[in-house]
Symmetry: C2
Subunit: 189 residues, 2 copies
Amino acid sequence: MPADTKTALLNSAERAARARGFDGFSYADLATDVGIRKASIHHHFPSKANLSVALMRRYAEAFETEILRIHEEKTSGGARLLALIDIYREALENGKSLCLCVSFSSSPESLPPEVIAQIRQFRAMLIGWLTKTFEAGQTDGSIAGVAHPELESAAALAVLEGAQLAARAEEDVVLFDMALKLLKGRLSG
Amino acid sequence: MPADTKTALLNSAERAARARGFDGFSYADLATDVGIRKASIHHHFPSKANLSVALMRRYAEAFETEILRIHEEKTSGGARLLALIDIYREALENGKSLCLCVSFSSSPESLPPEVIAQIRQFRAMLIGWLTKTFEAGQTDGSIAGVAHPELESAAALAVLEGAQLAARAEEDVVLFDMALKLLKGRLSG
DNA sequence: GTCTATACAAAGATAGAC
DNA sequence: GTCTATCTTTGTATAGAC
């Protein structure tokens, strides 16, 4: 599927990082997976720190594109939030994986400062989108009981990430569903 | 402070695991910290898997004791929940640490199945305590807007753990406070 | 219970040929 | 752009003396 080796490496690394953490895969793993020798990987990504930056950049860009698309396609705040919850649920892969942001947040000591900054920007971007979404849901009535959109968004992101963590640890997506049930119960439209 | 070497090792390992993850410390680190040679650690904990079980057991027991104490000392559901939130906030150590459960949940592949089972039991125990607490808050009116104590407890635990993760990643306790602000705003008594 | 010494595997990374 | 070969460090773990 991937035309070039670099993309194949990014795909393999992202899958591995989400399933086993950034320290849970090595260049040897990527080499086996992609079908080249591990020394060759250094041609594309001189260091693993370098690779982590590329991974996070690609992930943040793809994610932002995705939520902007949701904003276009769904008209109510409730429908938009539900779509985001689905993204986090799908990323769990039945409890065997995490979204890259949660995975990277779990091992900040292993990452270069640049990735920490990317994580910060990513969360800020997402909090911004969520705040807009809760405001819309407050206005159009598709999210019940919204009084403080900014606080709702911070809490919602924490629930999404915390629920993923618990579900991943026990490999049981039901834990995710339980944690999100209260929030989903407030949604309509 | 610790009378015996074994306790000193557990203390050192718990601090390290919470600050840098279970894969983020080695027997060499513990040896330096405690002041013995790394080979000597194997006398107390034959393998790191063994150590992880001992860590999680001690942590779960201490935590359960702590929340039972809270249940005794605080009379309202709201006050009890607030005390629990404080425990999670303190465990952050200004964004430099996590509680052991979140830390271990971040690297389940590195842990023996026994610890995964301990994590499951720990969360079940905590969910049970939280459900009782939300029920109390519902009855005594010290937690506003409680309709489903069991769903509230699952969501609350996810918020606590997700907020810790974000705050740890960016080493900023404000992220924790933001994520918990909505829940804390519902508490009184 | 702690030590020295060592085994063994895996990791990230580099040099230089093709 | 990929290869072979190699370096260096670090990790977990064991053997056997004291």
